[in-house]
């Protein structure tokens, strides 16, 4: 007798499964899971905290907040950040002060762990939400974060 109940139960479970997929088939028009990526570029907005790449914001006077303390460089586990710095004489005080020449960021080595931004005492570097990072040449992924001719904002001390 279990032979026939096996058949009955078997068919029943198969039909239950088909009902689930069939239900989705009928409602397929309502919502698809997938996104049509290059088409939805305009509307696609990443979350604020999304870790795309590290950038250094500059204000309208071409000033950033990096003092060149190198804490990010030390915090980075992969050596993605290299800071080339110099000492310059600050005019008001006459003292020598550290100043960045180039803040080099190797995006190709970055694992997006966020330790550098966590370590930065002056919030000079932040996450950008850009995620389209593919390039044809690996060297293009090495970026200089401070803009040419930029200088540190007044009153930023580490």
């Amino acid at each position: 007798m279990s032979y026939f109940s096996d058949i009955y139960n078997g068919i029943k479970t198969l039909l239950t499964g088909m009902r689930v997929t069939g239900g989705y088939f009928l409602n397929a028009r309502k919502g698809t899971l997938t996104q049509q990526y290059p088409d939805n570029r305009e509307t696609l907005k990443m979350f604020d905290r999304f870790r795309g790449e590290v950038v250094m914001p500059h204000d309208e006077n071409n000033e950033h907040q990096c003092t060149g303390c190198q804490k990010c460089e030390i915090a980075c586990p992969n050596g993605s950040i290299e800071i080339i710095w110099d000492r310059a004489i600050v005019e008001e005080t006459g003292k020598k002060k550290k100043k960045i020449d180039q803040h080099i960021y190797h995006l190709s080595m970055c694992t997006m762990c966020g330790l550098c931004i966590e370590a930065c005492p002056t919030d000079a570097i932040v996450w950008a939400q850009n995620f389209e990072n593919s390039v044809y040449d690996r060297t293009q992924l090495t970026k200089v974060l401070n803009q040419p001719g930029s200088k540190v904002k007044d009153g930023i001390e580490d």
Binding site: T21, Y24, A28, T32, L33
Partner: protein, 348 residues
């Protein structure tokens, strides 16, 4: 139209050449038709799968992606044919043609409508059964000649599967043949014009026969849940692991044409072929009867796709258990049942 071409050909050419030309023309027409039909079945499969899975499916090439599979075919044609050094060259190259030719051969005898039929032979069903089991030789040869262990396992499974399920397909067809008393496809359809579709005429045994036929037919075409031959999570790609380019495409296309064949048999045997439901287009002379045939075939194909995108795959020994312990005994009992039904004239 076919008649006028026929007359025209015979008028301008000597008889022998004319008939050969006519055959070639028909062959070319069928080839073109089913190559394209196969391609669109692939597209349909992809679309249906996408809708089951809450995706969109192909939508880049042409509106709604209707040229997608054309583009794929183009790509496959232009692809380099690679193979390993150790393959058995002759058999390796032969195998895909085995599969595709047998699939196309079976297509020839289907009556798509009253007029549209290449051959109307009186042993049509028998011919179909004979032809459809040749394809497996291609799979076996392909798997063997590839000199790849995965391909070999796939090929062996294929042999196992086809030999077993051929029985069920045959017996379920036999059940219906009992009812029709004819093997000729056009005659089988004509019988249904008066008494209603065979699944209606034969009621319970016919429904059982239909269910068995669908299960065994899915297995015959090596489709999920019986796709042990390919079984991508177990064997990579099974018997066609080593095939590339157009040779792979032949296997691929053959699978879909086989699916079309199984669905066509089901339509002819159970759902009245090109007859319209309840005779709604009976009186309209201009209405193409072929429309009903294709609609029914597509519905059955959809059912097979539904199976594929819902069920997990069986294991190889469960496949045999299902056939020998369940389908075959039920089928045999069902034949006797059908015979009793006919004997006592319980036909509706």
């Amino acid at each position: 139209m076919t008649k006028s071409i026929h007359d025209w050909l015979f008028s301008i050419l000597p008889e022998g050449i004319a008939s050969i030309t006519e055959m070639v023309l028909i062959a070319v027409a069928y080839l073109a038709l089913f190559a394209i039909a196969g391609l669109y079945l692939v597209l349909l499969e992809r679309k249906v799968a996408a809708w089951f899975q809450l995706r969109l499916g192909p939508n880049r090439v042409g509106p709604f992606g209707i040229f997608q599979t054309m583009a794929d075919a183009l790509k496959l044609v232009s692809k380099e044919l690679t193979s390993t050094d150790r393959v058995d060259k002759f058999l390796y190259n032969l195998a895909p043609y085995f599969v595709i030719v047998t699939a196309l051969l079976a297509m020839t005898i289907f009556p798509f409508s009253k007029q549209l039929q290449a051959f109307d032979i009186n042993i049509g069903m028998f011919f179909l059964l004979a032809i459809s089991s040749i394809g497996v030789i291609g799979i076996l040869v392909g798997g063997w000649a590839s000199n790849n262990k995965y391909a070999l396992i796939g090929a062996m499974r294929s042999g196992l599967q086809t030999i077993s399920y051929e029985l069920s397909v045959g017996l379920s067809i036999l059940t219906m043949v009992l009812l029709t008393g004819s093997l000729q496809l056009s005659e089988i359809i004509e019988i249904q014009r008066t008494g209603g579709w065979l699944i209606w005429q034969g009621h319970i045994p016919a429904i059982i026969a239909f269910m068995i036929f669908m299960i065994a037919g899915t297995a015959e075409t090596n489709r999920a849940p019986f796709d042990l031959v390919e079984a991508e999570s177990e064997l990579g790609a099974g018997f066609h692991t080593e095939y590339s380019g157009m040779k792979f495409a032949y296997f691929f296309l053959a699978e879909f044409i086989n699916m079309f064949i199984i669905a066509s048999i089901a339509v002819v045997l159970f759902f009245g072929g090109w007859l319209s439901p309840f005779g709604i287009t009976e009186g309209i002379t201009w209405f193409p009867e072929v429309f009903w045939f294709f609609i029914k075939v597509l519905l059955i194909i959809f059912l097979m796709m539904w199976f594929r995108w819902t069920f997990p795959r069986l294991r190889v020994d469960q496949l045999l258990t299902l056939e020998w312990k369940y389908l075959l005994p039920i089928n045999l009992v069902n034949i006797v049942f059908m015979a009793i039904v006919i004997w006592l004239n319980w036909i509706l």
